[in-house]
Symmetry: C2
Subunit: 340 residues, 2 copies
């Protein structure tokens, strides 16, 4: 037992300055201190000043744990996302966090690592903080996660996908349509022998939906995915490079490859560059996400840009609002680039 102070010594009491101490110092009641600090209710100028100077003198920092419990209304908003290192979620997180801060809320987050059962547990543990709202990636969740969300009584935003029915607020776009659009684009450029390089579709459901839409449109056009290579680990530039190499070794006569995201596609582009494969003449490459980097590699990548920052912002705003449940389709944009 004991508390560590700034020099690392163990002392026996924490600096537990409470609203009561402030009230004593300012010679007012506790509720007056509370009123001053929250800027609510009428307080005389005299009292206000005394309280404020007591706060400064004591170095008082209000305890929001207690405040939240008493008012049964937290300013916490939880975010449950698959990854932080992936730029897509970084963007969502950055914008959501900024928006929430602006609204006087505080972001708490947890990372699922694309694992639905981890998601289930994390949702539960986030809900235990009684947040004002929760933002989760995707609209597919484990049954118990769904039940907990529904039963929580708080606002829920499901983001990055509009392909099925959400619980409360949905902010995203159709991944199926994104896949379809990519396929249509390749077909319109006369591509015939099309390959696919993707990461684990059973974990990343949205990538699976894109692939589904892609295949469907190819089929409608009388075509199909000739060969595909699934990346075993996390997608990365390096895996894209290796996977395209493998795919082409097996099926050298492809004239286009669709990648499940830009990281893989950029890796693919690097493979082509270092092996003298003419892009897009000999082989067309199509990515997905619209990362900043795709415009800047020596040959701008053809891809689909998703409005991730906007999604973060809108989701954050709605989840703190009283607006009715709704679906916000923010769409996506085909970037024609120079690799198709």
């Amino acid at each position: 037992m004991g508390y560590r102070n700034s020099v690392g010594e163990v002392v026996d009491r924490p600096p537990a300055i409470t609203i009561y101490d402030v009230a004593r110092e300012a010679r007012v009641g506790e509720s007056t201190v509370s009123r001053v600090l929250r800027g609510q209710g009428a307080v005389s100028e005299k009292a206000r000043e005394r309280v404020l100077s007591a706060v400064r003198k004591l170095g008082y920092v209000p305890n929001r744990i207690a405040g939240t419990l008493a008012s049964s209304g937290s300013r916490l908003v939880a975010l449950v996302i698959p990854s932080v290192t992936n730029n897509v979620f970084g963007d969502v997180l950055a914008e959501a966090s900024a928006t929430l801060t602006g609204l006087g809320h505080q972001a708490v987050f947890a990372v699922t690592d694309y694992d639905q059962s981890a998601e289930e547990n994390l949702i539960e543990s986030m809900l235990a903080w009684r947040p004002a709202g929760i933002i989760v990636a995707g609209i597919e969740h484990a049954p118990r996660a769904l039940a907990m969300l529904r039963g929580s009584g708080i606002r829920i935003a499901e983001i990055l996908d509009t392909d099925s029915t959400g619980i409360d607020i949905v902010v995203g776009y159709s991944n199926t349509d994104a896949g379809r659009t990519s396929a249509r684009f390749l077909l319109s450029r006369g591509k015939q022998r099309i390959g696919y390089v993707g990461h684990d579709l059973s974990r990343d459901l949205r990538a699976g939906k894109r692939y589904g839409g892609f295949c469907q449109t190819l089929a409608d056009g009388g075509s199909r995915v000739v060969d595909s290579e699934i990346v075993p680990e996390l997608s990365s530039i390096e895996m894209g490079r290796n996977s395209l190499a493998k795919l082409l070794e097996r099926t050298p006569d492809l004239d286009a490859v669709y990648f499940s995201n830009d990281d893989l596609a950029i890796g693919g582009l690097f493979h082509c560059m270092s092996h003298g494969i003419a892009v897009p003449e000999r082989l067309a490459l199509m990515g997905y996400n619209g990362l900043d980097a795709v415009r800047l590699v020596p040959r701008p990548l053809s891809t689909i840009r998703t409005p991730r920052r906007l999604i973060g912002q809108v989701a954050a705003r709605l989840v703190c609002s009283e607006e009715p449940s709704q679906v916000v389709d923010v769409g996506f944009e085909l970037i024609e680039g120079a690799t198709v």
Copy 2:
């Protein structure tokens, strides 16, 4: 007033299931429920089962706000970082979050956008949640921020820099040394006319320290930075491209350029590639960070790799521990690459 249910209707009571409800349902006392849920204290098998089934039946989710207040010990750990989109902090965040989760803690974070006064406010607002510990980037802080941290009585980890004295735990490396190492490397390869492309040094103090060390070592070797270009906005591949262009327009006879980070350096490399500037024969490029991408661009970038994931992990572990205050220097690694 009112609470919104899953269909968006406003109902007058939240599903406020408390430990008391569970106790009634299971026909035990509240403390027994608490014991079962926290896995502490002796409870009979019968009671445990009854409690667990009541929990399931009622869909009870414990209220950690109340639990924390009652036990005056939170499992929250706060992170205050300059940015989430920057891969460096993404890595730190990812690893710290994973480590904390493993230790039964929960990460809360706030983004300062490299603004010291924002940092000050965010530290205060994080401290209001009475976290078990706090992890902040850097060791330079506003005086009031320092005072609040010192007075908080919680564990504090300052990360990514060991160039001055910290408060409690410090996990990082010397940015000054990193700058020195880069300069030494360029000098050892016979570079004479050296330029610099960097982002706003007054905001990113660590980049400033690197530049300081860099200049110092050049001076020791009888050299100096011939010309420099400061990026006005956030660093990015695009800004690196533009800035190098400007720098070379002004001072075409440089034989090496030191960039304040890899994003800028990669942009510089792309500029050289698209303008037929031979790297490193005509112009050497040196980055900083060791992002994954630097190994994979057509010409591997010379840079310094910093162990960011390790920093996140160690900081998270120590901040939850009882270990004495300490400085952990994790060092950095010179990546020779192919651009110097």
